[in-house]
């Protein structure tokens, strides 16, 4: 590891985290399955494929407009499974609770978990609870792992992105990050923006129903759409070009971003998915997405243009061009 110490930036979803995982962690633990670094690992059992994933949740504060750490912990893992083209089935649930957390808060979180699991049609089947001394764990940290069965016949992976493909997103960027940051103490900033936290497995399934040639799904969480598309471009070794005028951002989120100096492309989402599919199927996919409750503001935001160095570019609204780089460090800490 280049740096002597772990910095907040190492958890930011950007280049530093990328290097920590790609070099330091894979360096010690790498194997063909892990090295794929997908949202989920794809495990083969005979002719069946299981998706397996894990995620930890350290969001601060625990409760925010549109959700809480409980809802996040279910949706985050459900979505990672859905992004592999899998039907999420079972979750594990690990709690690390800070001594002194009010019982009522734990119950609220559990209720959110129950409700989210019900909506996603998954079951929590195993778990663990630890309690640590006051001052550690910031209330509660949650880990969820999940397994799901990958739909037969689909092959969803970043490497499949090809020149000519369209890039779509199911709605406005940036809401989750803004909602969470606005509740941070010391920011004295109120907003009507709600987190977009949502389980996307049903939407993903509907998309696969109308288009079995989807090349890639991925959810733009930490680091936002920018980090996610850069990861895809890097893995598939393609150039992706976006169109500024087509990027969906709500006026309120844009106002908040102007205020805080953020770029919506880099702000985390928890209810968004990127879809990369052949250009000819883009309209069909778009219409299906728009007919879903979690896809009303879906849009085609760009295309995969050529093979080569993995890079993401943006056509600006005045006709110029710029790079959309991987974020460098920590833009927004403890956002999910």
């Amino acid at each position: 590891m280049k740096e002597e110490r772990v910095l907040l930036a190492h958890g930011g979803g950007g280049t530093m985290m990328h290097n920590l995982v790609g070099e330091t962690i894979l360096g010690k633990l790498g194997n063909p399955i892990l090295n794929a670094l997908g949202d989920s690992a794809v495990l083969e059992f005979g002719d069946r494929r299981i998706a397996f994933t894990t995620d930890s949740f350290v969001v601060q504060p625990l409760f925010f407009k549109g959700g809480d750490i409980g809802k996040l912990s279910v949706c985050g893992t459900v979505n990672d499974l859905a992004m592999a083209g899998a039907r999420p089935l079972f979750l594990s649930l690990g709690f690390i609770v800070e001594e002194g957390l009010e019982g009522e808060i734990l119950e609220r979180i559990l209720e959110s978990i129950r409700a989210a699991a019900e909506e996603a049609e998954v079951r929590v089947v195993t778990g663990d609870t630890k309690v640590v001394e006051k001052g550690k764990a910031d209330g509660i940290y949650i880990n969820t792992s999940g397994v799901g069965e990958i739909r037969p016949g689909v092959s969803i992976a970043a490497e499949n992105a090809k020149p000519g493909d369209a890039v779509l997103i199911n709605g406005n960027m940036g809401d989750h990050g803004i909602a969470v940051i606005s509740e941070r103490e010391g920011l004295s900033f109120e907003t009507e923006i709600c987190s977009d936290c949502a389980p996307l497995n049903h939407l993903a399934s509907r998309i696969l129903d109308v288009c079995d040639e989807v090349h890639c799904f991925r959810d733009p969480t930490r680091g936002g759409v920018a980090a996610t598309l850069n990861a895809i471009a890097g893995q598939a070794k393609v150039r992706i070009e976006l169109f500024e005028k087509d990027l969906p951002v709500s006026p309120g989120a844009r106002g908040a971003c102007d205020l805080l100096g953020f770029d919506p492309l880099y702000v985390p989402n928890e209810g968004k998915m990127l879809v990369i599919c052949p250009e000819e199927r883009a309209e069909t996919v778009l219409n299906e997405m728009r007919s879903d409750g979690y896809g009303r503001d879906s849009a085609i935001i760009g295309r995969v243009t050529e093979e080569g160095e993995g890079v993401v570019l943006l056509h600006t609204r005045i006709g110029g061009m710029r790079i959309v780089d991987m974020p460098y460090g920590e833009q927004l800490p403890r956002i999910c």
Binding site: R5, V6, L7, L8, A9, T15, M16, G186, L187, L260, G261, E309, V311, L313, T316, R317, I318, G319, G320, M321, R322, I323, D325, Y328, G329
Partner: protein, 361 residues
Amino acid sequence: MTARTPARRCIEEIRSLAEKIPSPPLRLMEVCGTHTVSIARNGIRDILPENISLLSGPGCPVCVTPDGVIDAAISLAEDPRVIIATFGDMMKVPGTEKSLERARAEGADVRMVYSPTDALRFAREYPDRKVVFIAVGFETTQPGNALTIERARADGLKNFFVIPAGKLIPPAMAALLEDSDSRIGGFICPGHVSVIIGADAYAPIVEKYGKPCVVAGFEPEEILEGIAMFLGMAVEERPEVVIQYRQCVDRAGNLRAREILNRVYHPADSEWRGLGVIPESGFELNDEYADYDAFRHFGIEPRPSRERKGCRCGEVLQGKVEPFECALFSRACTPEHAVGPCMVSSEGTCGAYYRYNRKKM
């Protein structure tokens, strides 16, 4: 007042005016980090004619803060009595050994703030700690700092201090033009600094050096309109100060803000990293507020600036060299391992160029 002129019309006007420039190429310099970023982010250079070049000047406050000051701030951060409050862009700037971000990872109490008011709040909340606010910035930011210091006094706070690292833009513009090597044809003046100082603040520069100045906003359409207005002056050889950013800027500026500023600060000679000492270009605390000067209180004297070998930030800040002409650019010097501040700050010339334009399109 008209609605914002559509970009397309500005571009057409720029193209037709560019053909009539008396002695091309025309080099137009902006001196505001936010302009640096907006120009790079929007790919404005891509659509300008070949004979117009946009230079970036010393408009990034953290970039022009001498490295001795940064090292001194970091050493203060490592004092356990101290809470450092700083704007975000200072966090990653490298001092000789480390940045504030790294100092924080090593245990220093460094907190990011959006306003000096937040720093004052820390002083109230932690009466047994000494809060030091790093007051970088130009004329836009200093009146707010001044107000905060006055409030600290009014509240009788003895644990609030500032590092007075603020600077003035017009003296730097003059210093750049004084340089005989300068090929600067005129300026895009900073939009929000001008809200405070007024467009007339640039009149002496126009009179003395005969270079046109346009005060522009930050949206790409506004910058393009500003460039078109600038070209209009250049083509007619009619150097003036014109205001594109009509929505926000007038001739006189905010007198009240300047009064507040003058109650607390006075201009003094100041070192700009890469440019050396420019007369009357920095903000120093008035005698009655000298107690709030962090360096004075802690008995620290920032050492003279030292440039790292191979680093050409100084020439970049003067608009003499473009980022890719520096041998370190994107090799030894990237945002993750920055050698000089122009790269690490999101508003620095090299940082903006690297982040938004470095790959061949």
